[in-house]
Symmetry: C2
Subunit: 197 residues, 2 copies
DNA sequence: TACGCTGCCTAACGATCGTTAGTTAGGCAC
DNA sequence: GTGCCTAACTAACGATCGTTAGGCAGCGTA
């Protein structure tokens, strides 16, 4: 990963440290040390510690949203009204974004509560809206009998918990490539919804 | 919740605050303030801040393990060798423990990385052993054709992520009672494994 | 009445926190 | 050469951190 700007380099090592130790347990001087620089030097590139967290979280949120936009559009053009197709596309898009930058994604998933009041609420709202996409497709699938009867809220939340869990163990150099992991998750999620018992 | 000892009261409010703001972002004085007491006063009952976290995490770990022991025993005595029965019992037991004390469970799930080296490794080992229970039953179910072909590691990890996700939204005064939530999760998980596509 | 236990207090310790101020050195544009 | 930009430095600020020391009030028991 070759950084173009110093600011990018700071956010990259911050993502790494925030993921490993958490935002509150990571000091400005920790980030600086990883860059072989004095703590105070970072303030030439950054206005506050929380701004660094915000940059990471906001970028990740935007990536997830944009990927979900594309996934829903493509699913709709490919098989209009097919709830399973839409869910599959959403899950695959989510895992793609997550594996493309695990550190950033893990910080987004776990550290948003460390943001200040206003920003925390904004992320919370965007997370709710994101989860609502899943829930709507679950509801649509139930309505046409494609999915088993279930609580759409719990189902949507469980799906997101399951795929976000990938951030806890995914290793770019691990046993499985990212796209195979995405395939597995799509399978699991679709069975969870479609399966007959 | 009526505390019997002062130590219990400290751990209860610590669970609450650790869950809300995280271990690193919660100070000893924050905990004391919630008890209308000076920060230094807590050291009459506690030897260190990390000891409080450890007490919470260790107790939660023991509860999950004990509940899983009972669940596996009962499933085995009820329907020996039935993988679906075993998984169902494990999921229900897990959700039961989790909803019985959400604060404690959420701290166990999210804050174990704040422990020191030795204790962190111990919890990590116990988590691995716990997850292995799920994985073994998934493997057994696949072996006898009861479960669909899948990656047992990914399946076990996804199951645990999904049910741990309940800790993020469960509200004792919420829409659904704990046992109904457990039923929903058992349904979702079994469909995820058994479902034919 | 004397003792010891529980629970809390005030005061302070050294360390570390996020952040600001002021300065310096090198590279590129005019 | 002059001037600006980037990137870094040293020094220090007030605040807060986890923790220790020593003392005091209330209570039950001998």
């Amino acid at each position: 990963m070759v950084e173009t700007t110093r600011r990018q380099a700071i956010e990259d090592v911050a993502s790494d440290l925030f993921r490993e130790h958490g935002y509150a347990a990571t000091s400005i001087r920790d980030i600086a040390r990883a860059l072989s620089v004095q703590g105070a030097s970072l303030y030439a590139h950054v206005t506050s510690k929380e701004d660094v967290l915000w940059a990471i979280v906001e970028r990740a949120a935007t990536r997830f949203e944009a990927a979900a936009d594309r996934a829903e559009l493509e699913a709709e053009s490919h098989r209009p009204g097919d709830a399973a197709e839409a869910i599959a596309a959403l899950v695959e898009a989510h895992v793609d974004v997550l594996t493309a930058d695990v550190d950033e994604a893990a910080v987004f998933v776990n550290e948003w509560r460390s943001l200040g009041e206003e920003r925390r609420r904004q992320i919370l709202d965007r997370r709710d809206a994101y989860q609502a996409r899943f829930r709507r497709h679950v509801e649509a699938g139930i309505a046409v009998g494609a999915f088993a009867m279930t609580d759409p809220s719990i189902a949507a939340s469980s799906i997101l918990s399951a795929i976000n869990g990938v951030a806890a163990w995914y290793d770019p150099n691990g046993r499985l490539p990212a796209d195979r992991i995405a395939d597995h998750l799509v399978d699991l999620v679709l069975r969870m919804l479609e399966g007959s018992r």
